[in-house]
Symmetry: C2
Subunit: 289 residues, 2 copies
């Protein structure tokens, strides 16, 4: 992932340049360029490559998905939400820039994601109607029927006993939806037919759910230092998690099952081309932070 | 404006249906359907009609602009920003749904605006590349280079003496940018050529600036009851406004001058077709709330 992450970081740096008012663009860049793992852009670019697309076709989408992810972290960390002081090993956005600017930096990032896709997706590689489909896909994954919906249910489940169905809803929407958008937007930019898009969507949903189960597991098994964010937070807030509902071993088994199912979706593709998506699935299933 | 506002209200109602999680969609609908004046959708539809477009072509854009406007009000009213308790004569969104849900409802609305344009702009009337231009136009007006940028400078100017240049930047970005997007998106949807689009952009910038000057004037001359939001707030917070910098009479004259300049942009068009945009300009310049 080294070279891809570097290319993505350079593209993100260029996508949100410093400009007046500097306090705003500085806040946007602070969180965007804080060195995340860039899993979503990697998925987006790998899906594009799998279907034979040029990386340039998917780069604006890859950046846009990471930008939406970043803005969701900024808003999630706010005092009125998760009230987190640290993220990626650094003070959270509102701790540095104040709550008002943090909210507005999130708004500006969200807006910019759609501008980037609509403006920068190269027209010689991606027809305009396909670029519009990418906008729709990312918007649906980010809004009330996706990320934001998941966050609302998550907040409203705090301190309550919730069952596996609600927990699954939260994970599918708060986490899987954006991973799904990353993969689907990459496939669309790469020119995939509808059947291929739907197959890759199933791959993404499975790794998305696994991603969050692993997150739940890491929260109870790793230190704040290793995670780069506050550990044991779920326990402290008495939050319902997979380990709490199923136990640690069963949760690990479920994550493995989902990763296997994701990888199975890739069986019809050229093995060499599918290798990065297989590797990403395994990385997500077995990562340590 | 009666019939147009009704059509827009019906379209907005349909654009954001109630869905799970209901607390989120209820919060979105609470502010969106609170009966604003629908000036931006009216401008969008009137610009489309002026250039000979079908109203159906611009309706998703008209709704999208109003949705962005609504989300900006929800976030502006938050405790960490303007900390307002009333808006359009009712308690503000966070007063009813809590700060966390209000922030997320704003995020979901912002996302939905772009989904609406990309998904619902009728392809038989508006080519895909034009719909993409509409997305870019609205995104630029809403983000760091538009609305959000204006809001940040506004916040950072609080309690400070600022000059006419900064005040103008705030008004142009916080208010005029979205009015500009409304008009330009309507013209684009209606099939206007580039020269016409730029002419209507100048119309919109002038009325946008006038709109905010009139807002400043109304804040000192009208009651909370008439405004439907807290009056004399600018005075109470010692905010720099046009009346404060130029005096009331000079501010009124400046608003009139801008409205005249806006109307002058319409001189080349068929007078009957231009009548609604002339009327909207005069409404904005001489409104009482």
């Amino acid at each position: 992932m080294g070279r891809t992450a570097q290319e993505v970081n350079a593209a993100l740096d260029a996508a949100v340049p410093s400009a007046y008012p500097e306090s705003l663009t500085e806040a946007m860049r602070y969180s965007l360029l804080a060195g995340g793992k860039r899993v979503r852009p990697a998925l987006c670019l790998a899906a594009c490559a799998l279907v034979g697309g040029d990386a340039r076709a998917a780069l604006p989408s890859a950046c846009a998905v990471e930008i939406v992810h970043t803005m969701s972290l900024i808003h999630d960390d706010l005092p009125s939400m998760d009230n987190d002081d640290f993220r990626r090993g650094r003070p959270t956005n509102h701790k540095v820039y104040g709550e008002d600017v943090a909210i507005l930096a999130g708004d500006a990032l969200l807006t910019h994601a759609f501008e980037l896709i609509a403006r920068d997706t190269p027209r010689d590689l991606v027809p305009a109607d396909r670029a519009l489909r990418i906008v729709v896909e990312l918007a649906r994954a980010s809004g009330a029927a996706g990320l934001v919906g998941g966050q609302v249910v998550d907040i409203q489940s705090e301190g309550k006993e919730v069952g596996l169905d609600v927990l699954r809803y939260i994970h599918e929407h708060k986490t899987a939806a954006l991973l799904e958008a990353a993969v689907v937007c990459g496939a669309l930019a790469g020119g995939a037919d509808d059947a291929t898009v739907e197959r890759l969507r199933r791959y993404a949903l499975n790794i998305g759910l696994a991603f969050q189960i692993v997150d739940d597991i890491l929260d109870v098994t790793q230190s704040t230092e290793v995670l780069g964010k506050t550990a044991a937070k779920d326990l402290a807030s008495n939050k319902t998690t997979y380990p709490k509902l199923l136990g640690l071993d069963e949760s690990r088994a479920e994550a493995e099952r989902l990763i296997d199912e994701a990888v199975a979706q890739l069986s019809g593709f050229d093995a060499q081309r599918a290798a990065p998506l297989v590797a990403l699935a395994k990385y997500i299933g077995y990562r340590q932070n």
